[in-house]
Amino acid sequence: MPVFIRRAEDVDRLAWGPHCHHNLAVYLTRKEVRALGRPAVVAMGCTARAVVVLLQEGQIKREDVEIIGMACEGMGDPVFRKCLTCDVRTPKEYDVLVGDEIGPAEGEAEDPEKERLDAAGPDERWRFWQEVFTRCIRCYACRAACPMCYCERCIVEKNQPQWVASAPEAKGNLNWNITRAMHLAGRCVECEACERSCPVDIPLMLLNREVTRIVEDSFDYRAGYDKDAKPAMIDYNSGDKAEFIR
């Protein structure tokens, strides 16, 4: 499990292996972790991308975090599908790198569920998502595990007015999950911590990957690669394509 080492003599508690799939950037915005002092975060590529997004969004200053980059050939046993096509096996941002630099993965990953949804029409996709989200139990594990969900007061916690119905029922569930996907547009680093944490196996990444693809196609932007880049959904650029305006 994720550990927080504060004394040099505890360093043997650290581990590294295929079970270390957590995106530890999620802890960088937690106040009880910040209270411990300047953090060094063990960061494989996807984790480092999340740290970059936090830097871009002003949640942490570069000098206030030490990034221990980890060369990573893939997490999970069997290895996660996303790792087969990873292009950040050497993190893009780090202070020190553990392990030799590795180039991008050269595998191919079949994604039959996404292909099926991509080929289906909007009505069928809508039915699919309505049906899938009926089993959401509003545990908010997706939100808790996501490094990009750092709002001190999430939209579902507001009740003047109640933006999202609180009950784990179809209407509120659909609202919650789509709202979260939209709030991640241009910010999601595809670490998949959300899908992995869902206790009812909702295929959240099918939606997050699609939103990511739309942002990439529309704005030629992917989150977390360049800390000096301006995030697509925050920045106005007069060169932005305007084909979606019809």
Binding site: M1, P2, V3, F4, H22, V26, Y27, R30, K31, E32, V33, R135, I137, R138, C139, Y140, A141, R143, A144, A145, E157, N159, Q162, A165, S166, A167, P168, E169, A193, R196, S197, P199, V200, D201
Partner: protein, 339 residues
């Protein structure tokens, strides 16, 4: 009453029960690898062999969401409507002894000082048929919290593996006996001895844990930060847990009408104890995680003389931060008293 039942006939037995108006709830595969207790319908993929469903049986007595009443104050007087209770006669078939044991605590929580009538209406109309465990795994720790893979507590019928491969069905209550009599064509003579019960190694003694966590100064100790910084503050552990029972009551609706709803809640959420003026008595995640452990292993034992944990392991399996509650309790038991 002791009989035997053939697992291969489960689908037919459930059909027969449904024809007699019962709702049969059993472990059903909802999507690949996801097995939940669901009402059985024709075509349900029954998965009785799965050790642990994702969630417990508590939602059939304490629903995830429940409308308490509807209100409308658009007219001259406030109009209140209680929803018609919809409580079918139900058989839960194939929960585990840890699931059934949770009902002993939930009955006290929902019955002691104020009786939650809808809860007890569901309890009265439900027969619990528990399947004893044959292959506990490394997350199970029922034997550390007063349970066992073959415990009969909370059940109306228990199913135990016989050495001839059939399941022995032992009625434990009048309700269980009545069910077996009503569907007697599916219950054969038992006539075989039982397969040996599996072992679940004991990991800690709850009385010792309680003494340790109740010791002066332990509450404010550093150990809580050590064990709980990884907690991300979701509600997964509380929601998959058979004994967690906290809820939130909200009014939602339009300008003049709406409903009062009781929803599951979790002490891990930051909002759980946040007060209207903005103060939060459990302001950090370690303080919130401490509440979970103290509630289960100290406060509930003090109040009810029962444990607040049945050792099912679900929270440990599903925690996004990989927190294993049995490991945490073990660390607490070995921690120095006050630091």
């Amino acid at each position: 009453m002791v009989k035997a039942v053939q697992e291969t006939k489960n689908a037919d037995l459930f059909d027969a029960m449904r024809k007699e108006g019962r709702r049969v709830v059993a472990p059903v595969e909802v999507s690949e690898g996801l097995v939940l207790f669901r009402p059985v319908v024709s075509g349900s993929r029954l998965r009785p062999e799965v050790l642990r469903t994702r969630r417990s049986i508590k939602e059939f007595f304490f629903p995830m969401t429940e409308t308490l009443f509807e209100f409308d104050h658009g007219g001259e007087a406030v109009d209140l409507q209680s929803p018609e209770p919809d409580v079918p006669e139900t058989v839960i078939w194939g929960c585990r002894p840890c699931d059934a044991q949770s009902l002993t605590l939930l009955d006290r929580v929902f019955g002691d000082e104020h009786r939650d009538e809808p809860y007890f209406a569901r309890r009265e109309r439900t027969t619990i048929v528990t399947a004893a465990c044959e292959k506990p795994d490394e997350f199970c720790f029922c034997t550390s919290v007063g349970g066992s893979p073959v415990s009969e507590e909370g059940s109306d019928v228990i199913l135990l593996r016989q050495s001839d491969g059939r399941l022995q069905a032992k009625a434990l209550t009048d309700k269980g006996k009545a069910l077996m009599e009503e569907f007697s064509s599916f219950f054969e003579d038992a006539g075989s001895d039982l397969a040996p019960a599996p072992e679940v190694p004991e990991r800690f003694k709850p009385a010792e844990i309680k003494t340790r966590v109740d010791a002066p100064g332990f509450f404010d100790g550093q150990v809580w930060e050590d064990v709980a910084l990884a907690c991300m503050g979701c509600g997964t552990c509380a929601y998959v847990c058979p004994t967690c029972h906290c809820f939130d009551i909200v009014d939602e609706g339009g300008l003049v009408d709406g409903r009062r709803i009781k929803n599951w809640d979790a002490c891990g959420f930051g909002l759980f104890t946040k007060e209207a003026a903005g103060h939060n008595p459990r302001a950090t995640q370690p303080a919130r995680y401490r509440q979970r452990v103290m509630h289960k292993f100290s406060y509930i034992p003090t109040r009810y003389e029962l444990l607040g944990c049945v050792g099912c392991g679900r929270c440990s399996v599903h925690c996004p931060g990989c927190i294993d509650i049995a490991a945490v309790v073990d660390v607490l038991g070995r921690a120095e008293a006050a630091k």
